[in-house]
Structures are given as C-alpha cells and as structure tokens.
Symmetry: C2
C-alpha cells in the first residue's frame, strides 16, 4: 500500500517485482553494481541514466537485470559508446575492488540502507540521512524550500 | 540525529529519554493507557490534552509517568475535575477490558506501530498509514494541500 500511495504522491508507476526475493537475494544486483563502477571509469556521464534504467527495470517493468545480456540491452537502449569493452571490465579485479571500497566507505559512514544521503555543509561536520522520505528534512537543514514532487517535470 | 532533525523541522524540542528501555519496557505505560481509557469514559474532552502532556513528560522533559502520583500531577496541572474518582477506575475490570478491546481492534486492523492512522473516505474501503512521516501521503490521498509544520501556531 505504501508503494501505491507513493506512486500517487510522486506521480510514479512503481510495481513490486513479481519475485522480489529471487531478484534481490538469489540473482542479486552485484553484476549491475560492478557494471556501474566500470561505466563510471570510462563514461561517467552515463552512470545516472544507466542506474535509473536498471532501477526502472526492477521496480517498474518487472524485468531481470541479473545477466550480462540484460546489461547489454540497457547499453543499446541508452547508446553507451563502446559498451562491449566496458562489459569486459565487469569481472576485473580493479572493478571488484573499487566496488568493495565504495561499499566499505558507505558502511563505515554508518549506512544501513539506501538512499544514504551525505550532507556536507561548509565548515560543519557532515551528517547523514536515510530514506527517500527525508527530503523535507534535507531541505530544512539546507534552509531551502521543499516543494514536494514535481509531477509536471518533463522527462528527457 | 533523526530526532534532532525533526525537532528543527517541526519546531519541537523532543529529547530521547535518559533511560528509554526502563521507561518503555520495565515500567511501561500500561497505567497511563488505562487512565486515558478511564478518562475517556468520564471526561472525554480532556483525553487529548492529557495524552499530549504524558507524551511531553516522556519525550521532552524526561519525567516518569509510570506511577499513580505521576498521573495525579498531570491531572492537577490540567485541572481535571474529580480526578481521584477517575484514578480509582484505572484497575477496574471494565477499564482493563476496554483497553484490551482497543488494542485488539488496532491489532486486527494490522497496526504494527504508532501513530496508526485509519483513513475512511465515503464509499471507499478504509486504508491505513503508519508513522508521523506519512502526513504528505495522507493529504495527497485526501486531495488537500500538505502545508508542513505550522511552526507559528500558538499553543493554547
């Protein structure tokens, strides 16, 4: 119900995956995470779009992201340059270690879920927010107005 | 930190009780809950004010609410008429059973925490919201604007 209410609030169309445990626990998202790291090394400007597309595959269209062929589909759709080379990097030690380091960094900051937001104001200690339902708190701390969902914002 | 950020957002001054487990688990709030039921039977218009005062004792002023003397203090402060009679009702079977029924009712609706909000729109199935961080969702479902905290609202 929370998902349905949030869909209405945000103007989204998210759906619970038909086999959540299978996707998250068995198949996992490790491959996709490593791909994002490899992509960030080569074509960083595409990272956000690819992450969004992978997220929409799971959370809106109930599509798999666990295999290399799924990653390739995303790359073709988003026209990632020379994506075959990037895909060969997925299982390199360099990329594996980078993902471990990123994970360790988040863990050491105290992250216990995502989104994990790091707020660093000039001359102040950083602080952390957990959850997509803390945006009003984030804006309050940054002393700016929280406008809520921008439902009429056109997607590129 | 979430409490501190919410204090800033809502203009409140809540503090984590110095011995949370002791208050919630050992001493408990059963006496206070039964008193609220007894009060609702005799002086229902005072229920909200007393509930707020009890809540502020725990969550803002780090004061105990577990004993009859604590309840009496609240009654005196809020000028509850004939409160001694109401206090003698706390341990009556009638009041105990009413609280059990209230609890069962919430449990059977699926409540797993408080605040548990029941939303009943005319001609529709009721639905439920959990948490003080779902007020924007509540307003969206009721098709009214969520204005956020009314920091300048004067307290009576």
């Amino acid at each position: 119900m929370d998902l349905e209410h949030n869909n209405s609030y945000w103007g989204m169309n998210l759906k619970w995956p038909s086999n959540f445990q299978d996707i998250i626990q068995s198949k996992g998202t490790l491959l996709a995470q490593r791909f994002l790291v490899a992509l960030d090394n080569k074509e960083p400007e595409f990272v956000q779009k690819v992450a969004e597309e992978l997220w929409m595959k799971i959370w809106s269209r109930d599509e798999p992201i666990g295999k290399v062929e799924n990653i390739k589909e995303v790359c073709k759709k988003l026209k990632i340059p020379d994506f075959d080379t990037i895909i060969t990097e997925i299982n390199s030690e360099k990329v594996k270690n980078q993902l471990k380091q990123n994970t360790d960094e988040a863990y050491n900051l105290g992250a216990f879920g995502i989104p994990w937001i790091v707020v660093q104001k000039q001359g102040k200690e950083p602080f952390y927010l957990f959850g997509s339902d803390r945006l009003h708190i984030l804006c309050n701390e940054l002393e700016c107005e929280y406008q809520g969902p921008l439902k009429n914002l056109k997607k590129n």
